[in-house]
Amino acid sequence: MIAIVDYGVGNLFSLRSSLSALGLVAEVTGDPKQLAAASHIILPGVGAFANAMAKLQGAGLAGVVRQQAAAGKPLLGICLGMQLLFQKSYEFGEHEGLGLVPGQVCPLAPDLAMAGYNYKVPHIGWNPLQIQRPQSPILRYTQEGDSVYYVHSFYAKNCDEAVVATSEYGVTVTGAVQKGNVFGTQFHPEKSGDVGLAMLKAFAEVETC
């Protein structure tokens, strides 16, 4: 069973449906026992970093997610859920994340301006992936140039050792990361058509290490 962490952030309809379309059993749950019993954990999330982190902690789930990851259970953070995996975010202040992946989450706009691009923020839409670490298990079914769907205004930086795929948007955007059995995608696999479904399937095939 794949547990989708329910901490009152975001709409989980598409994520749950995409897993069920793959024939996977998924449970939306905020129960630590269920998270412990699950084979895989997905940490979703939309909205603001500080609010999401506070809700995760308020529900008593930040520690549970950390423990499960430390035990080697495959964990996938999606969008804001990926950002929460990092050490810190600079979204409206400075906030501690789960610290499971080294790196920081920073605003896109100043970096775009510095690079001389007047691209729109949020970065919204379909953007192709450049694969940086083809052996990453989450990319088992992904090809160079496959397009995925992004919606975000902040992005992960200083995380080179964990980056497995990127996209170009004036700056190099961290698309997907991996550290051990902790995975993250900035884009939404549940909204990225067949490419996204294939990535969720690949995640579901990762075994506890």
Binding site: N11, I124, G125, N127, P128, Y149, K191
Partner: protein, 254 residues
């Protein structure tokens, strides 16, 4: 580089897909769930559903259909039609929609755009505008294009951006259903005044029309209904054609 989007639009009434010519003479096309799955498989980048049902009963059918679509089609879904309150945002977002399109509801209550943006984020709020040339300028029409509000379209577009809309759908009533190409003068006038993404709607008749559209700066997507529904233009061939013209599009790899 973000791809230019090709978006089929499905007008739904009482659970069926319909398409009008100049908003009149609606005729039934097909089952919305089958159609959504077909377009996903064809490589559509997003789907837009407008619920043009009049009755509350039909609204319930619509939400059921939306859930069925969202359970099978994993690309962004935008939903509009009779969105007048935050409760309406909730209703469609809970069925798997990613963006909510407001039109007459925003004309009646412009604060709705900002309320939606604050609660769900700007990326979730699409301001859809039905626009017709009146004299030297363009006006915003309400109620499915039946009522001239007298609002200047360019002012309204800027107001929408300022209120927090994340995207604009510019639907030209002058070119809608005529298949002579998108309303380029109108689109250009709006794109010069706003920074948020613009989805062009109304007038697509062939592949060249999309190439002409994307040659304009600041246009992010082309939306069409009948040419896709009646298979006059296929999405794979349209995208291959645009890619050949140097337009960045999402091509699916096998």
């Amino acid at each position: 580089m973000v791809a230019k989007r090709i978006i089929p639009c499905l007008d739904i009434r009482d659970g069926r897909v319909v398409k009008g010519v100049n908003f009149k003479g609606l005729r039934d096309v097909e089952d919305p769930v089958a159609m959504a799955a077909y377009y996903n498989q064809q490589g559509a980048d997003e789907l837009v559903f407008y619920d043009i049902t009049a009755s509350a009963e039909g609204r319930g059918i619509f939400t059921d259909i939306l859930k069925k679509v969202a359970a099978q089609v994993f690309i962004p879904l935008t939903v509009g039609g009779a969105v007048n309150s935050l409760a309406d945002f909730d209703r469609v977002l809970n069925c798997g929609a990613d963006k909510v399109s407001v039109n007459s509801g925003a004309i009646a209550n412009p604060a709705l755009v900002g309320q939606g943006a604050r609660r769900y984020g700007s990326q979730c709020v699409v301001l859809s505008m039905d626009i017709k040339r009146v004299g030297e300028g363009w006006h915003i029409f309400a109620k499915g294009g039946r009522v001239d509000t007298g609002l200047d379209a360019l002012d309204w577009a800027m107001r929408g951006e300022a209120e927090g809309a994340g995207e604009l759908v510019v639907n030209s009533m002058d070119t809608d259903g005529v298949k002579n190409g998108f309303d380029l003068p109108l689109l250009q006038a709006i794109s010069q005044r706003v920074k948020i993404p613009i989805v062009a709607s109304g007038g697509a008749g062939n592949k060249q029309h999309f190439a002409n559209l994307f040659a304009l700066e600041g246009i992010d997507a082309g939306l069409a209904a009948s040419i896709f529904h009646y298979k006059e233009v296929g999405i794979p061939e349209l995208k291959a054609y645009l890619a050949g013209k140097g337009v960045p599009v999402r091509l699916r790899q096998q």
